[in-house]
Amino acid sequence: MNWLRRADNSGIPLLLARLILGITMVLMGWAKVGDPVAFLKLLDQYHLFPPGWYVVQNVLAVCLPWIETIAGVLLIVGLFRRGSALLFLVLLTGFTIAIIGRAMDIHQEQGIPYSQIHFDCGCGSGDVFVKVKVPENIGLWLLSWICLLSPTRRFTLDRVLFPDRRRPAEPTLDAPPTVASEPQS
C-alpha cells in the first residue's frame, strides 16, 4: 500500500476529491438557495418529519442549501476541510437513504420497476433517475471519506492560515516519511 500513501502524500487525490465534491455541492446548493418554496415542497415529499414539525422543515428548506453551499466553498478552498467532509458524509448518507426509501414507496404504490423510477429528488439537479442518482451519491460519499481521512494538508488554505509548528515537514514524493503519517491534532 506504499504507492497509495505516496499518491496521497502528493496531495493530488485530495485536491481532486475536494474540487469534485465541493463544486458539485456548491452547484446543487446554490440551485436551491433562491427558491426555498420549491425546495420545501420537494422536502415534504419525503415525509421526513411527523405532523407539527413544520418549523423544522421550513428551517431546513431555508438553511440546508446555504449549509451545502458554504461547506462546498470551504472544501474547495481547503478551510475546515475535515469538518465539511464529515458534514457531507452525514448529509449524503441521509439523502441516499431518503431517495432509496422514496423509490421503494413509488415501486410499491405504482409497480414501476426501479430502473424506470425518476423524480425530482430535491438535490438541485432536477428530475433524475434513481438508478443514476444513487451511484452518483455513493461516488460523492466515497469522495467525502477521502476528504475526511487524508492526512495531507497540501493545497489547502488550512495549511496557510493555521500552520502547525508541531507537525514535521510535509513528506515529499522523493523522500517519503519514516513515520506512519502526520500526527492528527
Binding site: 418554496v37 405532523p51 469538518g83
Partner: protein, 218 residues
Amino acid sequence: MRRLLRPLLEAIVVVAVGLAVGLGANAADEQSGIALSKDHLRRAQTTRFPATTPAPSPTTSAAATPEGTVEASAGAPEATPAPADEHPDSPFTFIDHATALAIYQGDAYLYGEDIFIDARDDAHYTEGHIPGAYQLDHYRADRYLPDLLPICRSALRIVVYCNGGSCEDSQLAAEDLMLEGIDPSKILVYEAGITEWRAQGLPLEVGERSSGKYINGE
C-alpha cells in the same frame, strides 16, 4: 476519538454559519423569503372539510359550449365541477378550462363581480398572468391579504389558479381565503391553471396587474 473531535467541531461551526446565513438571508429577502412559523403545506394534504354546495351564479354572464367556445347568454355559466370523487372532501368547486374561460369573458368579470386570483409567486406572476388577475402567493400571503380581502368579500365568484397539474398552490391560496372568512362556496379552483390557459393561446398580462402589457399564449 480525538481524531474525530476536531472535524466534529468544524462541522458544527459550518452548520452554525449555514443556519445563520440562511435565516438571515430569508429574513432579508422579501421577494423569496418564507414565514418559518407557518405550516405552509400540511393543510393541503391533511385538512378535510365538509363538502359544500356549488358556487352561486351571477345574474349576467356568458356560457361555455361543449366545444369550449363562448356564447352570450342571459343566464350565468354554471361552474362545471370536476368529477366528485376527485375532491370529495374539498369545500371548493373545481372548474374546467371552458368554465374558467366563460367566466373570464363574462360581463361579471368585466364589472369586477367575478375575479381571478393567481396563486403563484412574483416571478411567475409578472412573467404572465390572466389579464386582470390579482395575486395571492400562499407562501407570502400576509403581503397580499390586506388589500385582497375586501375585494374578495364583495366578489360574487373567485377563480383561483396556479400552474395546474400537480400544483396545489391554488388550493392552498383558496384555503387562505376561507380561513380569512371568505365564503368557500364562491371560491372556484381552476384546476388546469395557467398552463392550459397559455396552451390555448389566450392572452396573458405581463408585469403588474393592469400593466396594459399583453402577450398571447403558445
